[in-house]
């Protein structure tokens, strides 16, 4: 099968490419960022998904499936730019997929869609509305892109659309929100005094396994995807060789970015106060997915790849 991967140049994209090539698929990658060391068998196009050149790739290739990973999830980018990439990019992917052969589209979303709120249930089901926006307006574009992708299910039923909401990843790549947070401040990881939310993470290889399964099973719908059970943040911090550094909420914004602690946006504060945990039973039932890497192994691997650095 011909699989097109917009946003291929991420750490996760590279893993997905390898997995797809191993299975004998034709893989075509699109990204405006350079890919890094070349991978044999990958057809690469260094173009912006929103530009005409990207449409030409769809037109020529007529892919059987598209794994849309071209969303900006980290918060470093200016929000205007993020809005354009995440929304216009997502729209372009669906427009082209429809125009050139009705490919199966997998939208790779995030579990942060649900938001971290004090009064929400611990396990979020797919039918819950996004509560993130009030607490974390910076995530609005990602939430909108996710909802937009979901509308394809009824607006274009001729297209098979799969929206996957993944939990955090943790492993030897050190990429992703949780890994960046843990790596940010040397051996001390800031926490809010008196709060210790559950965090849910899966290994990148399991995330790739889930995407490949979703391609095979071609299930339409919105699915939460997670791996092992969630565990408290303080436990993750300790098991990855670091030390929790609890700070009273009143002082929090004053000390972040100083004393060797990482910076954190105000909205992100909610995510170290309250948990975002997803119920992934529907995905497991629909695809038969099981994770291979346990929470202990994922943490050990991360710890080996990124031992905590002593300050000084």
């Amino acid at each position: 099968m011909k699989v097109l991967v917009p946003g291929v140049s991420s750490a996760l994209g590279r893993r997905l490419v390898s997995a797809l090539l191993r299975q004998g698929h034709d893989v075509i990658g699109i990204d405006r960022r350079p890919f890094g060391p070349p991978v044999e068998g990958l057809e690469l196009h260094e173009v912006d998904i929103r530009k005409r050149a990207a449409e030409e790739v769809f037109r020529r290739v007529r892919p059987d499936a598209v794994v849309h990973m071209a969303t900006v999830t980290h918060l470093v980018k200016q929000s205007e730019d993020r809005y354009r990439i995440n929304l216009q990019g997502t729209r372009a992917v669906f427009d082209h997929a429809r125009a050139y052969g009705n490919a199966h589209v997998i939208f790779v979303g995030r579990h942060t869609f649900y938001g971290a709120a004090p009064d929400s249930p611990l396990y979020h089901g797919e039918d819950e509305p996004p509560m993130a926006l009030a607490y974390f307006p910076e995530l609005a574009d990602l939430v909108a892109a996710d909802l937009y992708a979901g509308t394809m299910l009824w607006r274009h039923p001729e297209l098979v659309t799969t929206v996957l909401r993944f939990c955090y990843t943790l492993g030897d790549s050190g990429h992703g929100t949780l890994a960046t947070f843990l790596r940010g401040g040397g051996e001390r990881v800031p926490m809010l005094l008196g709060y210790d939310p559950l965090f849910q993470f899966m290994h990148e290889e399991d995330m790739v396994k889930a995407m490949v399964l979703a391609l095979e099973k071609k299930q339409r719908g919105v699915f939460n995807v997670a791996g092992p059970q969630p565990i408290p943040l303080s436990v993750i911090v300790r098991e990855t060789g670091r030390r929790p550094f609890p700070i009273p909420e009143m002082l929090f914004s004053a000390v972040l970015g100083r004393f060797g602690l990482p910076k954190l946006s105000r909205g992100a504060l909610g995510h170290i106060k309250y948990p975002v945990v997803i119920d992934d039973r529907a995905f497991r039932a629909a695809t038969g997915f099981t994770h291979d890497v346990s929470e202990m192994d994922a943490m050990r691997e991360f710890r080996r790849a990124f031992p905590p650095m002593k300050r000084g």
Binding site: P118, P121, Y123, G194, L198, P230, I231, P232, P275
Partner: protein, 272 residues
């Protein structure tokens, strides 16, 4: 020492622990052990809690404990949780449905979550019951903890949510009567102003000022399981009828207990 007994009982809880002693809800063996070490002296000595009818609580499988509130602070819930761990064989973890505000209070937030006491949301209740857990619900809610000294053996209106959940998940209900909390915390008024200070709905005031509980003998009585048939989508009038039957049973158990207490001594040390 009771340390070993508690560790042993926490180990024998039939919950799906991972390698780190954490279950899928974030309940942690380590936190439970600390929590029960604090509760043990209160349960065994300070309040000398007497638990009756323990054999009425199923050893395994989804179960709802439905009880009356007794005492202005959560000693009733805490003592029920302690009795399920200390008196049952194998021990069970009773999981309460707590007020929303608690999750926003530092430390209360992390400790309630690590010991399995979650915000009272229907989603939580359904999921826990489907996972065959033991749920503890006080349908009087915050109105129930606000009872004054003179009202200590009475019941206020019951919420009906628990009955719909029990019907929907086909869960047996074990009624429980909690006695003595009103003597331990003889509330003369509830201060909303002080409550605001602590982020709670109110703080009970006693004749001696703050709500420090007195060393009164407490009693918890578990009644025979009640099973109701239905789907949970019945009309209010049907549901209210079922709820009234549970409430009447608890009122009967309270009345019985009250007469028993009157015959004996109220204070643990026989001071009265």
């Amino acid at each position: 020492m009771f340390d070993r007994e508690i560790r042993d009982r926490v180990d024998r809880l039939e919950l799906p622990w991972n390698e780190l002693g954490v279950d899928p809800y974030g309940v942690s063996k380590e936190h439970l052990t600390v929590f029960f070490k604090l509760l043990y002296p209160l349960y065994r000595h300070y309040f000398s809690v007497e638990a009756r009818g323990i054999s009425n609580v199923p050893k395994r499988g989804r179960t709802m404990l439905i009880g009356n509130h007794s005492g202005g602070i959560a000693i009733d819930g805490a003592m029920v949780i302690a009795s399920m761990l200390l008196e049952m064989d194998p021990p069970r973890l009773a999981q309460g449905m707590v007020e929303k505000f608690l999750n926003q209070v530092p430390f209360a937030s992390s400790w309630s979550n690590r010991t399995g006491q979650f915000t009272g949301l229907p989603e939580h209740a359904i999921r826990l019951l489907e996972d065959e857990r033991l749920l503890m619900i006080f349908p009087e809610g915050a109105r129930g903890t606000a009872k004054l000294y003179g009202e200590r053996y009475s019941l206020v209106a019951f919420g009906t949510g628990f009955m719909r959940l029990a019907l929907r998940t086909k869960t047996p209900i074990v009624p429980l009567a909690f006695l003595g909390g009103g003597d331990a915390v003889p509330t003369i008024a509830n201060s909303a102003w002080l409550g605001k200070l602590f982020g709670a709905p109110y703080v009970p005031i006693t004749p001696y000022g703050f709500a420090l509980p007195l060393p009164v003998k407490l009693e918890v009585v578990y009644g025979e399981p009640m099973v109701f048939e239905g789907t949970g989508s019945e009309e209010d009038v049907v549901i209210t009828g079922y709820v009234e039957r549970v409430k009447a049973e608890i009122a009967r158990m309270l009345d019985e207990g009250r007469h028993r207490r009157r015959a004996g001594s109220t204070f643990a040390g026989g001071a009265k």
